[in-house]
């Protein structure tokens, strides 16, 4: 009870000040009146009684002051006085105030924004129950390799002491044909065991329940986007039927809408995939690809137990040399591709804040040195050290508080504007939703940055002040040249700024060179003017029906002037096709490793891939014709350096399932130019087989046409539905755009680093200029003497620049180490550039040094041109 009364009392003192003061006066007056009455009663005259009473009171003003101090009013008054004084003093030096507040606000904004993004992606968990304990289960050594057969037979209850949830949910595609348009829906069949683990909930109606898994009507929770697009966000959608076709079997299905998912709902195992259209119960037994470990169980332990489970289950057919399962954290896998980008961006912004802090400290130091005389006067007039310290801290607090306020506002605004673009550039949704980055990390990072800067500012000002105190009024008045302590500190700060700028600029240089190299990389094909889409054929089709489809579609498109079409079973720019084993007939290095892609005969003409030797595919290379293949230039040179590739035979020797028969031997009929399927594709050994000899259900369709995208897409859809009404055509995109998207995260980082580096360099220039100008002013007397004694201005300039050069050399040394560190942290993002690329690092160092020397030269030159007579007179 006591503390809250005390608090109330203090609040009252603070906010009802006038009332409290009035009461205080009234109380004292009451006492005085009683005292006067007391003396009157003793027989004194009224005037005498009053005089005696006042003497007794011992000075009411003093009593009042003491009461005020007791009530905490004194401290409050002192604080407001300090704040007013600091504000006035900052107003008088507007340049200093603007420079410090602006640069600090920018530095804090950068740190706050990057911290928020880093926190949202790398630190906060994915939106699912205990997402930190979710792990992918990989059954084969590397993705794409053969898995053991019949893994669905595993009895996961046998490892329930280490595995809490074994998730066998799977993606399923459905086709929605309503009002004439065919649309593909992405569904997730949720396993009953993972019902509580995926963060499932409904924004309308209900989510799935355990009785949905028993059988009967198939309930479905539809995606928010589907609900808006297909049902016009109708709240009455619950209970309505949804008729679709299963893309895998072609079977017609009827679901009943039970609920609507919240916007942006994704499957936690595949969080980088777009939001789900449908969520429905999975009523079969499937393979488990994700597990949630029990609390305190290590991944290694769980991995061991699952290995034993797999080996002890007799139904499972293990592949030869089965490497065992591997667990990988779901969150790690989601963020690992963007981790280097985000950490580099954060480190860079922290580095900028460091430079900002160094710069502000320099400015504060110079300002304090300029104010030595004022401080000396105040000390002489009896101001205590505590008072001066308070004044300094208040000034620093005002600057930092203002900067923090601006930074908070600015970065909240920035985050709200930039988040969608950041998500797109990184190719990943923010786990907690786009509005989530603003949180504790954001506020905490900025506030602690501000506090650190405040402490640095206060310390440096105090340091300068202590010197004044020691020297007293006389030395301040003489404005003696700075003592070694101050000079060292200044030199240290400048060195730090130079080093930081070099490190940042080097990082920026490496990223810019990477971005340029990736843009300039020769893909081996032309993206300009090529549009791409995807086509999915019904699952029940035969090789012959698919061949007919592709041939008729191709003939239809080619009948239009200037139009050409190509099909491939691999999507360019998605990722590089994985190499597999290829048997080479009678070759000593067989099997060779190469990526095998099925393409139609238009591939070389649409993408303008060079034919180096032999011929390209023709429409005649179809089912029934002799099996043929093309090889890339690199593979041909590697296997047949003498150029005898044409006529050799090869076949793919990887099986997707154990026991599958191998394909036929294919004769190489041509050698084509090397193609990079992504700008980073380094493996240029490729084998192409004719798509018309292995017609696939899904195909990537590339079209080169002079007509606008909308026209040919409409025509394509019409042709497709004429040939096969059940086929689905996806959304179109241009290859140029895809290529850009592949580079966007690198471009983002390059852009950001460039911005940061320019900002940091500007600050450094300001710092170097400020310090040199101050030094030059300090040494005006010495300069005048030297000039009077016959030194030339050039000699003076050399003298001063010599001092600056020492700082710069030290900065360059530390900066070189910093640049090496930065290069190492960026290493995984670099392309065609070494992490310690000497050209980039040396250019950066030279650039920074030249600019810094220029910044020093300007004030020095001015001093050296002054008239010695005038200078000496002014001393």
């Amino acid at each position: 009870m006591r503390w809250h009364k005390t608090l109330l009392l203090r609040l009252r003192t603070l906010f009802l000040r006038a009332t409290v003061e009035k009461e205080m006066d009234e109380e004292l007056r009451f006492h005085l009146d009683h005292l006067i009455a007391h003396y009157l009663k003793a027989g004194h005259s009224p005037a005498q009684a009053r005089r005696l009473a006042l003497i007794d009171m011992g000075g009411p003003a003093q009593a009042r002051e003491e009461i005020r101090d007791t009530r905490g009013l004194g401290a409050w008054d002192a604080l407001t006085r300090d704040v007013r004084f600091a504000a006035r003093s900052l107003r008088h030096s507007r340049g200093f105030a603007t420079a410090t507040v602006t640069s600090l606000a920018l530095g804090l904004t950068l740190l706050g924004t990057t911290s928020a993004i880093v926190d949202a992606y790398l630190i906060r968990p994915l939106p699912a129950e205990h997402a930190d304990r979710l792990f992918h289960v990989w059954y084969s050594g590397a993705p794409g390799q053969v898995e053991p057969a019949r893994l669905s037979a595993l009895d996961w209850s046998a490892v329930s002491d280490v595995i809490e949830v074994a998730d066998s949910s799977i993606f399923a595609r459905y086709v929605l044909s309503e009002s004439g348009a065919t649309q593909e829906l992405v569904g997730l069949q949720v396993a009953q065991a993972s019902l509580g683990a995926l963060g499932l909930n409904a924004s309308l109606g209900r989510t799935l329940r355990s009785d949905d898994f028993a059988g009967g009507d198939m309930p479905v929770v539809i995606g928010n986007r589907l609900w808006r697009d297909q049902f016009a966000a109708d709240p009455g959608v619950i209970g309505r039927p949804l008729r679709v076709t299963a893309a895998s079997s072609g079977a017609p299905l009827t679901f009943h809408v039970a609920g609507v998912l919240p916007p942006g709902f994704r499957y936690v195992r595949e969080f980088s995939r777009p939001e789900l259209d449908l969520v429905l119960p999975y009523r079969e037994r499937g393979r488990v690809y994700m597990v949630r470990l029990r609390e305190g169980v290590s991944a290694a332990t769980a991995q061991e137990r699952i290995n034993t489970l797999v080996r002890n289950t007799s139904e499972v057919v293990l592949t030869a040399n089965w490497p065992g399962v591997r667990l990988e954290s779901v969150h790690d896998r989601y963020v690992s591709p963007i981790r280097p980008t985000l950490t580099s961006a954060w480190l860079a912004s922290a580095c900028v804040l460091l430079i900002v802090a160094a710069n502000i400290t320099i400015l504060m130091l110079l300002r304090s040195l300029r104010r030595q005389r004022e401080v000396a006067v105040r000390l002489a007039l009896g101001a205590g050290t505590a008072h001066l310290v308070r004044a300094v801290v208040t000034e620093a607090a005002l600057v930092c508080g203002a900067a923090l306020l601006i930074a908070m506002t600015l970065s909240t605004w920035l985050l709200s504007r930039l988040t969608p673009e950041i998500e797109q550039s990184l190719g990943r949704a923010i786990p907690g939703g786009s509005s989530s980055p603003v949180g504790w990390a954001f506020t905490g990072a900025m506030a602690s940055g501000a506090v650190v800067v405040m402490i640095a500012m206060s310390l440096i000002a105090f340091f300068a002040m202590r010197r004044t105190r020691a020297g007293g009024l006389t030395s301040a008045a003489r404005a003696a040249s700075d003592r070694p302590g101050v000079r060292w500190m200044r030199a240290g700060l400048i060195t730090l700024e130079i080093a930081g700028s070099i490190a940042l600029l080097a990082g920026c240089g490496l990223m810019v060179r990477t971005a340029l190299a990736l843009v300039a990389v020769d893909l081996g094909f032309t993206t300009a003017g090529v549009m791409r889409t995807r086509v999915a054929l019904p699952v029940d089709g035969t090789d012959q029906s698919r061949l007919d489809f592709f041939t008729r579609l191709q003939d239809g498109v080619r009948s239009r002037p200037g139009a050409d079409i190509a099909f491939a079973n691999w999507t360019l720019f998605s990722e590089a096709a994985r190499p597999q084993d290829v048997d080479i007939d009678g070759h000593p290095t067989s099997p060779a490793r190469a990526a095998v892609t099925a393409v139609s005969d238009g591939y070389t003409s649409v993408l303008q891939v060079a034919v180096v030797a032999g011929r390209a595919f023709t429409p005649a290379d179809a089912l029934g014709a002799p099996p043929v293949a093309l090889v890339s230039d690199t593979l041909a040179r590697r296997l047949w350096p003498d150029g005898a590739a044409i006529g050799q035979r090869l076949r793919g020797s990887d099986r997707s399932q154990a026991g599958e028969p191998l394909g036929p031997w294919r004769t190489i009929v041509g050698v084509v130019g090397d193609v990079r399927q992504t700008p980073e594709d380094e493996d240029l050994a490729d084998v192409y087989v004719p798509l018309l000899q292995v017609p696939t259900q899904y195909a990537s369709v590339m079209i080169r046409s002079k007509e606008p995208a909308q026209t040919w897409l409409r025509d394509l859809r019409q042709s497709v539905s004429r040939i096969e009404p059940r086929a689905i055509v996806g959304a179109p995109t241009s290859l140029d755009l895809e290529r850009d998207r592949m580079l966007s995260s690198r471009r983002l980082l390059a852009g950001l680093l460039t911005g940061l580096a320019v900002f940091a360099s500007l600050l450094t220039v300001v710092g170097v200029y400020g310090v040199t100008a101050h030094g030059a002013r300090q040494r005006e007397g010495e300069t005048a003497l030297r000039l009077a004694l016959g030194a030339t201005p050039a000699q003076i300039v050399r003298l001063f620049l010599g001092d600056t050069a020492k700082m710069l050399a030290a900065g360059a040394g530390i900066g070189l180490a910093g640049a090496t560190l930065v290069g190492q942290s960026l290493k995984s993002l670099l392309h065609h550039v070494e992490a310690s690329d000497p050209l980039t690092v040396m250019t950066t160092i030279a650039g920074v040094l030249i600019v810094a020397l220029l910044a020093a030269w300007v004030p020095v030159r001015r001093t050296s041109r002054l008239q010695p007579g005038r200078l000496l007179r002014d001393l």
Binding site: R2, W3, K5, T6, L9, R10, E23, E26, E27, L28, F30, H31, D33, H34, L35, D56, M57, G58, G59, Q62, A63, E66, I67, D69, T70, R71, G72
Partner: protein
């Protein structure tokens, strides 16, 4: 006349608490009561009295209320709180311990 600075440090608080333990009083009455209780040996000037009262109020040992005085003037009356009563007990015990220790030393010397 004994000035409060002559009082042993901290005893003013104890005296004020003791005076207020009997009944709520305003500042003037407290000073009068203190004088009469000590046979005019202890006189506290208002320069020490009021800061001390406000300090005790901040501590939560006494609380203040505005009421009418005997001559119908508005006056600020102070009274002991529960915490104040506990503090008084502690301070009294402490004072007794201290004073007996001091007199022991003084007599032996």
């Amino acid at each position: 006349m004994s000035r409060p600075t002559d009082l042993v440090q901290g005893t003013l608080d104890l005296l004020l608490l003791k005076v207020l333990a009997l009944e709520p009083l305003h500042g003037w009455a407290i000073a009068q009561r203190l004088a009469s209780m000590s046979n005019d040996q202890l006189k506290v000037s208002q320069g020490s009295l009021y800061p001390a009262l406000h300090k005790l109020e901040q501590h939560g040992w006494i609380e203040a209320e505005w009421a009418s005085s005997e001559n119908n003037r508005r006056a600020k009356f102070y009274q002991l709180t529960k915490a104040g009563r506990r503090a008084l007990e502690n301070e009294t015990a402490e004072w007794e311990r201290l004073s007996s220790a001091i007199s022991m030393v003084v007599r032996r010397a």
